[in-house]
């Protein structure tokens, strides 16, 4: 491929900003300067869909209404471990209004073994949701019950009931994505160990490392199962007409749902169209078509009618994914001067009937330490399957590592912030620590537990890393329409993060037109394939092709205009809604007139994500660089009641070139609130005697509401790396990793006693204070 050399901004403005020369394909657009010199990119542009959302005009999957549409409901198991001896749908089928009943069976026509309460068994489609709900009550099932195990520690005992007697496939989006076990090393309910993570495996020699250490810290950290509560539950509306299946889906990945459906039914991908105009949130569990997707499709095929199948909140809690728990052992050695000599990690966690409870990435990469080893085990239990959850494995991992580093700093007699300056080689986090500490007022931090009286204040901090993941299989098309109209199209979905808006900004920036003049058509697999909304890949993956496609149509339009203006395309500039000759400003035409004069009714171009500039061959599992973050927390702890209140969080982050600063800050707010909730409030309550989740609602499953939300201030540092035509990266996951452990460190600073388990509910605080 022909290449050219371009100079791109490199470094951090106000700190070490310079330029880097990169050899890039000739088709790449010229380098953008830093954000302050751009018109739309980097600015707090209002969300494209803000009005539609606040006025209720936005149609989510649950709102889809099609002529003749049926409503489906899933009948689920109400026992955690059993064989089905008989199952009759006769009574359900004879209920007036019931159109179709589909029983789940294996390939050899057997009923599936029941492994958890809430496992889907039968789907029913009826003329109304009420009838479908009534019908599933008329399904008669008989079970042969077996003993079961819910508790992750009980499940590890040799005598525990065995969850899986056959090997199951690892879910690739289930946990600490990367080097994982395939379920083959299974002993009882214990699977593993996985000895690696995103970026490689063990290094050095632990034993030698610990021998060198002057101080050794050993501790076990525990984290809970955390269930997904997106505003919109999982669900689809499937309209399967001969030769064409249309799937409206609440999903984080229209393209993978399309692929799954095509594969499941053995039909061509072009026969399946997946649409997600709006998705009401997704935190990692909405990548797949699930069981409900194919179920709705089957019911649609059986009846020839569209089928609506949205899960209710209880189903969402029990069956649609959760963040696995962890019991996380860490041993860290350091020399007197603080240098780390060895890190040993061992973890056990449960993703219920699924895999994916690893926690290793953060411990492995965040600090330089020559000797590192990890063993991560999954433990099967008779509970709903885990799924990816905003920075899988890293949030659990950070909860251990960042408390351990805090504790180690204290043992070494070094301020925890200064200690990180010493052992952390990340340039971006160094700046984040400086700026964050200043904004937060870190110097106010006192000796642990030193506030007078029972109401104690504490300050803490923690940090995290997340790789600069990119999905190269990401494409966008930009179209100019004769007479007026600029469109960008991609299957990428906007799950609430603001993807529509940033695509509008990028195209508008390239074409020199107002953002509102760009129509953004996304969330539809009839458009070029976009990335899934996971791994924080969206912005880094789809903005470069969006810009490149806009650049291509711009070049074509300039060619046409050049002839008219008797200039050359190379001499023409497109900005502020005009095209003009930079040598002769009288040669000018408005962008709108240029569109009127187009030779053809459309100019279109599609571009795909190029490899990162500079020879970085990026793909999932291989990422260079660091989306570093540092968060600071201020808490109040009532030592008489054990309640913790987070007063303030300062979150310092980087995401390459921020495209929309307001949306980046929104994402940080969301990540912080979710992290706080994980630290203090949310946990799945399983009844060990019956296997049911007892708080499968939004009343007893405690999430923070308005009164709980702290003051959140964010610092977003522009960090140019010259990696792509936009040099942008995501923020969704980085925003969530450090919050819980920053709060834990602040709680320690308040009360002078460490809490090694989340959520830090009053019982744990009072126990730690020896008040019970």
């Amino acid at each position: 491929m022909d290449t050219k050399k371009i100079k791109l901004p490199f470094g951090i403005p106000g700190h070490n900003l310079g330029e880097i020369e990169r050899e890039v394909p000739v088709t790449e657009p010229p380098a953008w300067p830093i954000n302050e010199k751009l018109k739309h990119v980097g600015k707090p542009i209002k969300r494209y869909d803000a009005m539609a959302k606040v006025t209720g005009q936005a149609k989510f999957t649950a709102d889809v209404q099609l002529p003749g549409m049926l409503y489906a409901k899933i009948f689920r198991s109400n026992t955690p471990n059993a064989k089905i001896t008989s199952l009759s749908t006769t009574r359900a089928e004879s209920l007036p209004g019931v159109y179709a009943v589909q029983v789940m069976k294996s390939d050899d026509n057997e009923f599936p073994d029941v492994k958890y309460v809430g496992q889907p068994l039968v789907g029913v489609a009826a003329s109304s949701l009420d009838i479908a709900e009534e019908a599933i009550k008329l399904i008669d099932v008989e079970y042969k019950y077996s003993a079961f195990v819910i508790d992750v520690e009980e499940a590890q005992k040799p005598e525990a009931p065995i969850v899986h007697t056959v090997k199951i496939k690892a879910q690739t989006d289930g946990g600490d994505v990367g080097v994982t076990h395939d379920g083959s090393q299974t002993k009882g309910n214990i699977v593993g160990p996985s000895t690696g993570s995103f970026l490689g495996g063990p290094r050095g020699n632990l034993e030698a490392g610990f021998k060198e250490a002057d101080v050794i810290l050993e501790q076990v950290y525990r984290t809970q199962v955390h269930t997904h509560v997106p505003l919109e539950t999982h669900g689809v509306v499937v309209d399967w007409k001969p030769g064409n299946m249309t799937v409206y889906a609440s999903t984080q990945n229209t393209a993978s749902v399309r692929d799954e459906m095509a594969e499941y039914f053995g039909i061509s991908k072009s026969e399946v169209r997946v649409i997600s105009e709006y998705t009401g949130g997704g935190f990692g569990a909405k990548h797949s078509a699930g069981v409900f997707g194919p179920m709705a499709a089957k019911l649609s095929k059986m009846t020839g009618k569209p089928v609506w199948l949205m899960l209710d909140r209880k189903e969402e809690h029990i069956a649609e994914g959760n963040r696995p728990s962890s019991i996380h052992y860490l041993k860290i050695g350091a020399k007197k001067n603080g240098t780390l000599t060895a890190i040993q990690q061992r973890s056990h966690g449960t993703a219920g009937v699924a895999l994916g409870a690893g926690v290793g990435h953060l411990a492995q990469v965040i600090y330089e330490c020559p000797n590192f080893a990890t063993e991560q085990y999954d433990v099967y239990t008779h509970a709903g399957p885990g799924a990816a959850w905003r920075a899988p494995g890293n949030v659990q991992g950070a909860y251990g590592v960042e408390q351990a580093i805090d504790e180690l700093a204290e043992k070494l007699g070094i301020d925890p912030l200064s200690y990180r300056d010493k052992i952390d080689k990340s340039e971006i986090r160094k700046i984040e620590r400086q700026k964050g500490a200043e904004m937060f007022g870190w110097s106010r931090r006192k000796t642990p537990g030193s506030t007078a009286g029972p109401i104690k204040k504490g300050l803490g901090m923690a940090q995290s890393t997340w790789p600069k993941f990119v999905t190269l299989d990401s494409s966008a098309e930009v179209r100019l329409l004769q007479g007026g109209g600029v469109e960008i199209r991609s299957s990428v979905q906007d799950i609430g993060t603001g993807t529509k808006t940033i695509l509008g900004q990028v195209v508008a920036e390239e074409l020199g037109i107002p953002v509102e003049d760009v129509t953004v058509l996304i969330g539809d697999t009839y458009f070029p394939r976009g990335p899934g909304s996971g791994g924080s890949v969206v912005t880094g993956s789809i903005t470069p092709p969006a810009r490149n496609a806009a650049y291509k149509v711009k070049l074509e339009l300039l060619e046409q205009v050049a002839r008219k203006l008797k200039s050359t395309a190379a001499n023409l500039v497109m900005e502020d809604g005009k095209i003009y000759d930079k040598a002769d400003a009288t040669k000018t035409i408005s962008f709108k007139d240029a569109l009127k004069d187009m030779r053809t009714s459309e100019i279109t171009a599609t571009a795909s994500r190029s490899d990162d500039y500079g020879g970085f061959q990026q793909e999932w599992g291989l990422a260079y660089g660091d989306l570093g973050s540092v968060q600071f927390a201020e808490v109040t702890v009532d030592t008489e009641t054990g309640f913790v209140k987070v007063d303030k969080i300062v979150a310092a982050h980087s995401c390459g070139r921020p495209i929309n600063i307001a949306q980046v800050k929104n994402q940080i707010n969301g990540g912080v609130i979710q992290g706080m909730s994980y630290a203090l409030y949310e946990y799945r309550v399983m009844d060990k005697a019956t296997g049911f989740m007892m708080n499968a609602n939004v009343d007893q499953y405690k999430m923070p509401y308005s009164m709980e939300i702290p003051e959140i201030e964010s610092i977003v540092i522009e960090d140019y790396g010259g990696r792509s035509s936009t040099d942008a990266y995501g923020i969704g996951e980085p925003a969530n990793i450090a919050s819980a452990v920053a709060i834990a460190n602040a709680v320690y600073n308040a009360i002078g006693v460490r809490i090694y388990e989340i959520p830090m509910t009053p019982d744990k605080i009072l126990k730690a204070l020896k008040k019970i």
């Binding site: 009532d638 009844d687 923070p704 509401y705």
Partner: protein, 336 residues
């Protein structure tokens, strides 16, 4: 949710002559059996129906019955509150704020602004426990008439720590905690047209007395209002609720204290604990410690300790004991 027909009651008489059951009476019964129940704000009823625990065939709307939505006060009769007064109306009532501050605080901490706009006083008293075993259609628990309290050995962090050996649920009305401290009486009209007034302590019954309902409400009873005796001079009150969250949550522990001081000494005092036992209860021993004494930090602390005498926490809820001791002490000190 099952289908049901709707009947809008025109008067108290109309309502009580048509009703056949309380929601508690029909708990767990299939919708086939004819049952006519009341709905006020519907906050609790909707939840019970969504879970499938209650399947009425007819619902009588009582929210628009004339005359049940008034608040009045005079120095002799005291405070009268109609059963259909919403929690928001109570919360915003200036006289209640002034003379019955603990009630104001209790109401202001119930639910959310949206819920308080809809929920009524009568409905709040008649609601059922939020014990998660009781609320699960899959668990046939003690409160539903079986002999099994799953919470005893199960998940019990939000459950009772006193009088909990048969059923460990706690009643969900934190408003009742304050009402009991003011010695409120509940006005009830039955189908025979007879009206009666029952003290809060008799209104609520322990599960061992009636496992299937927290109150004495019979099948054809309608709460029409409550009466609180006039506020005596020198009386101050306070209420503290501790939930898992500050916003929109049930009490893990709540306490109302009403203190009448005279000449620097405590002449009368009521201390009521909510979410400690299956129904709200007076902490009589704690109150006795304050009588005739001037109140200071030390005595308030002792009263807090005394309020938890005889506590029998379960495996997961011993933490409620220090919380109660603390909030009892703090609430007492707020009344002097």
């Amino acid at each position: 949710m099952n289908k049901f027909s709707w009947y809008e009651a025109k008067s108290v008489e109309d309502a009580v002559s048509n009703v056949t059951a309380t929601a508690s009476d029909i708990l767990g019964k299939a919708p086939k059996e004819s049952s006519v129940i009341f709905k006020a704000g519907g906050i609790d009823l909707l939840e019970l129906m969504k879970e499938g625990l209650v399947n009425p065939t007819t619902i009588i709307g009582i929210k628009n019955i004339p005359g049940l939505n008034k608040i009045s006060y005079d120095d002799k009769a005291g405070l009268k509150i109609g059963a259909n007064v919403t929690l928001a109306e109570l919360e915003n009532h200036e006289l209640i704020k002034e003379k019955f501050y603990a009630l104001h605080l209790a109401v202001a901490h119930a639910g959310t602004p949206q819920i308080r706009n809809t929920a009524t006083l009568g409905g709040n008293l008649a609601q059922r426990t939020r014990c998660w075993y009781f609320r699960s259609i899959e668990h046939q628990c003690y409160r539903k008439g079986s002999g099994t309290c799953y919470a005893q050995e199960g998940e019990n962090e939000f459950h009772a720590i006193m009088k909990n050996n048969s059923c460990a649920s706690v009643h969900s009305s934190s408003v009742s905690t304050a009402l009991m401290a003011f010695n409120a009486k509940v006005q009830i009209t039955s189908s025979n047209g007879k009206a009666k007034e029952i003290g809060m302590e008799e209104f609520f019954v322990h599960p061992e007395v009636n496992s299937k309902n927290e109150s004495v409400l019979g099948s054809k009873d309608l709460i029409t209002g409550i009466v609180i005796p006039p506020a005596k001079p020198g009386t101050k009150s306070y209420y503290i609720k501790q939930g898992a969250r500050e916003s929109h949550d049930w009490a893990i522990a709540d306490v109302a204290v009403v203190t009448e001081m005279s000449g620097g000494k405590c002449k009368n005092v009521e201390i009521v604990l909510g979410a400690a036992a299956p129904v709200p209860m007076k902490a009589a021993e704690a109150a006795k410690m304050l009588l005739g004494k001037s109140i200071d930090e030390a005595i308030a602390k002792s009263a807090g300790e005394a309020s938890m005498k005889g506590a029998t926490p379960l495996a997961g809820n011993a933490y409620k004991v220090p919380i109660f001791k603390t909030i009892v002490r703090r609430a007492i000190l707020k009344t002097i």
